[in-house]
Amino acid sequence: MGDKTIVNPAIHVRWIAWIGIAALSSTTLSVAAHHSFAGEFDSTKKAQLVGTISQVEWINPHTYIHIDVKDEHGAVATWRLESLPTAMMRKAGLTKDLLMGDGSPVTADVILARDGTQNLAWVIKLAYADGHYYQLSAPQN
């Protein structure tokens, strides 16, 4: 799988669509319910990135996965992909090392930031070169 450019990189548009999301849990305490996803990311603006993971920030309230993506001119841009809290990752058996992978290209399905911040997105799924994947979020989330 070779590197390819971003699909639908329309990140300079200011969107005002309200995206309602179901509360993660209305009756239990919620580690995950940090802030509203809809306030930060626009689920109508999805993209697919291909690159290599250069860093996993194992932090709360959200982990960040950095992925280096080459454009058609060979320039590398580092995307910050926000994801789940560490407790959720641990519950799923995922670790920092597992997310890092082996350095092979990774395909990331992402949702772009509402405020137009360059190279900031929410990650839905990471698919690794050997075929295994980690789906971290519902596609419509």
Binding site: W18, I21, A23, L24, S25, S26, T27, T28, L29, S30, V31, A32, A33, H34, H35, S36, A38, G39, E40, W58, I59, N60, P61, H62, T63, Y64, E82, L84, P85, T86, A87, M88, M89, R90, K91, A92, G93, L94, A113, R114, D115, T117, L120, I124, D130, H132, Y133, Y134, Q135, L136, S137, A138, P139, Q140, N141
Partner: protein, 281 residues
């Protein structure tokens, strides 16, 4: 830390202890024998339930049910999106959220804090959740004269050392987010009273502030492999009535807690409309 000292001499103490130990041991065996057989609850030598253990309280992520296929993992959104006819039926109405009731003169303040929750909620900025918002302990270490509560929270690791030997609240501590706690037993229920709070935490989300006069009473009861926890917040300056949390049940687990990952808030500057959802912790 001030400890009570015995007025007995060393020799007297040894002799008295020897006799007491025999009596206590016999008493404890009797208690353990009866209670252990009846309810399966591990007990300390003094007969009180032993709350020691690591307790999985769900941490608010009970809804996460990962699915694993080979080396792949689906954490969220694993179910098919299409809804069947039967599942398309309207869901039953949820009960209203359990929130503190404020005096009328504070309604505007609560509403304002709630409206600006993204900017004002302490836990959204990685501060301590305070008590009772922190919930039941993730791990308890119990000794004869104290219990130690350990927390593995999204905001960090926290601890509380709770005397159970009748000591009064400390006078030499500053007001803090978790306050100063002492506890006593009411039957098999550990009753933890905390005071000396600062006013920098919330009772729950939606602007549920409190004052430094907050007093919280937690009630913790062990069944065989579970821990039942509730807390009642008393803050009559601002609350119409004491507010009791929804009961939470934690389950004994052999999965040990770990050092919490650093909590570094990076989202707030990117939230364009201040929207937030339920975040009671």
């Amino acid at each position: 830390m001030h400890r009570k000292t015995s007025p007995l001499s060393l020799t007297e103490t040894r002799g008295t202890c020897g006799a007491l130990c025999v009596l206590l041991a016999a008493s404890a065996l009797s208690i353990c024998g009866v209670a252990g057989a009846a309810d399966g609850i591990p007990r300390m030598p003094d007969g009180h339930p032993d709350l020691s253990g690591t307790w999985d309280n769900g941490s608010g992520i009970d809804f996460v049910q990962p699915k694993r296929v080979g080396d792949s993992v689906c954490v969220r959104g694993c179910e098919p999106q299409a809804r069947s006819a039967s599942s398309a039926a309207p869901a039953a109405a949820s009960p209203p959220p359990n929130r503190p009731k404020y005096r009328p003169e504070f309604a505007a303040k609560v509403a304002d804090l709630s409206a600006r929750q993204v900017q004002t909620d302490p836990v959204l900025r990685c501060f301590s959740p305070g008590v009772p918002r922190i919930g039941p302990p993730d791990k308890i270490v119990q000794r004869s004269n104290e219990v130690v509560f350990l927390y593995d929270d999204v905001s960090g690791n926290f601890f509380r050392i709770v005397p159970t030997d009748g000591r009064p609240h400390r006078k030499d501590v500053d007001d803090t987010s978790l306050g100063d706690a002492v506890a006593h037993w009411e039957g098999d229920t550990l009753v933890v009273e905390s005071t000396s709070f600062n006013d920098e935490t919330w009772l729950t989300d939606d602007g549920a502030f409190h004052t430094k006069d907050l007093r919280v009473v937690e009630r913790i009861k062990r069944t065989k492999d579970a821990l039942e926890w509730t807390a009642t917040a008393y803050d009559p300056k601002v609350l119409v009535e004491p507010w009791t949390t929804t009961k939470r049940t934690a389950h004994l687990t052999d999965e040990e807690i770990v050092e919490a990952a650093p909590c570094l808030e990076r989202d707030i500057d990117h939230i364009v409309d201040g929207s937030h959802h339920t975040n009671p912790r």
